[in-house]
Symmetry: C2
Subunit: 261 residues, 2 copies
């Protein structure tokens, strides 16, 4: 399984990297539109709402913001904030009550569609601005640092469960370790994305990315747990679905987009 993961990443990362680094803005926007539609498909498949009757919901709650933001750009911070709060409410509900207290299928489909439709465009909005490629690569590397730090520190020192009912393997110690690893990585990588910043800004930004990456991860776990699935999909052998691979990035990209302006 680990071998499958690594081989898949080795083959697909260069192609994705080419799309991020070398493609013109219009092409990258189309690429994110395709990923967004596929993300909506994954939400529908995992919540069992891949039905004609649910199409209006996905079109209105998912498709309209997706294409609206990709075509029209920034629509302020209110709507994305609402969506992020919605995801946090979902985490909180499951953390408090477990799967039995999870929202109904329509509520899950609505939440998932809004999550993809409102937040996915930020990948393109962040990347398609000046120095956007650097920003995207910085966020991805910081999220990797956060995940890796949390994994190893948690495995070594993890005692207290972070949110047992949402994601049983995560620990408070791991979360702190992830944050420390991200700050260290942020200081090392700061020439890439923050050549003129004060040290305090680098530390604050890195810590925020780690926090949002971990919240993003928990949000996906909450959604998957409520839907009763282990992976969001199957498109990346060994990794699961598209949402599995992007959930630690989405909140962080939204934050970085507003931060960078």
């Amino acid at each position: 399984m680990l071998r499958t993961r690594i081989l898949t990443a080795a083959v697909l990362l260069p192609a994705v990297l080419a799309a991020v680094v070398f493609s013109p803005n219009w092409f990258f926007t189309l690429f994110i539109a395709v990923l967004g539609v596929f993300g909506l498909y994954e939400i529908a498949a995992m919540t069992g709402t891949l039905k004609l009757v649910a199409l209006p919901l996905y079109a209105v709650v998912g498709g309209v913001p997706l294409f609206g933001l990709l075509y029209g750009g920034d629509a302020g911070w209110v709507v994305p904030t609402i969506v992020i709060v919605l995801m946090l409410v979902l985490i909180a509900r499951i953390a408090a009550a477990g799967r039995d207290g999870a929202p109904s299928v329509p509520a899950l489909a609505f939440t998932g569609a809004a999550y993809v439709g409102v937040l996915f465009p930020y990948f393109a909005m962040l990347r398609n601005q000046p120095h956007g490629v650097n920003w995207v690569i910085a966020v991805v590397l910081l999220a990797v640092a956060s995940d890796t730090g949390a994994y190893f520190v948690g495995r070594q020192f993890g005692r207290r469960k972070l949110a047992e009912k949402v994601s049983p393997n995560k620990t408070v110690e791991g979360a702190v370790g992830g944050m420390i690893a991200t700050v260290v990585a942020g200081v090392i990588l700061s020439p890439l994305f923050a050549p003129t910043w004060h040290a305090g800004a680098v530390i604050f930004f890195s810590a925020m990315i780690s926090l949002l990456a971990q919240l993003g991860d928990l949000a996906c776990s909450a959604l998957k747990r409520a839907a009763g699935v282990k992976d969001s999909g199957w498109i990346f052998p060994g990794h699961g679905g598209l949402l599995d691979r992007t959930c630690s990035l989405v909140f962080a990209m939204v934050f970085t987009y507003y931060w960078s302006r």
Copy 2:
């Protein structure tokens, strides 16, 4: 399964297209190096030679030409021709004798390693020359026309088996249909890749691409059949492996490389 195929293609094609169209030459060369190494991995996995003892074979027969050609460029047409003949001998042996008459495992590993190592670099060599992107896209579209034409004509009118022991579903009628479809597509697409050619050159070139795409397909089928596997791998859900997706392109790319010079 068809849905899986289509969704995988929809998500991955834009990323691969970005690599082909927008990346600088050095990056595309590295990309093909990665694909080549992964292709050697698939050969080893499917022939059951994913063992330390076989590593020298893959390094010498696969790795040396792969990196040599990617780094040094064109080394004449003799070696690729030998490799293509080797593949045709493999087809012929299996067509004559079935799986029982297939070469031994070492012979298969050698043939597969040479196939990937010598021929994969032509993707980069063709693409990284002037108008190379147009050439690559033209060959891909013509190969798609060939496959599609062969499939539908074969399904409708197929009577005589083409090479029953190598690939039981292929028919002579399908092969002819694929060739006609490719010539039609070539005439339609000729402004893309052949704006100044005579009609005869367009027809000859298109027919050659169809012939080589079909031989490439048979070569892969022969290799897979001899190895006793159905797919070369698992990296593209619904499509199989990397070699499954590239086998109709490899011979055609080599031909187009020399034709274009």
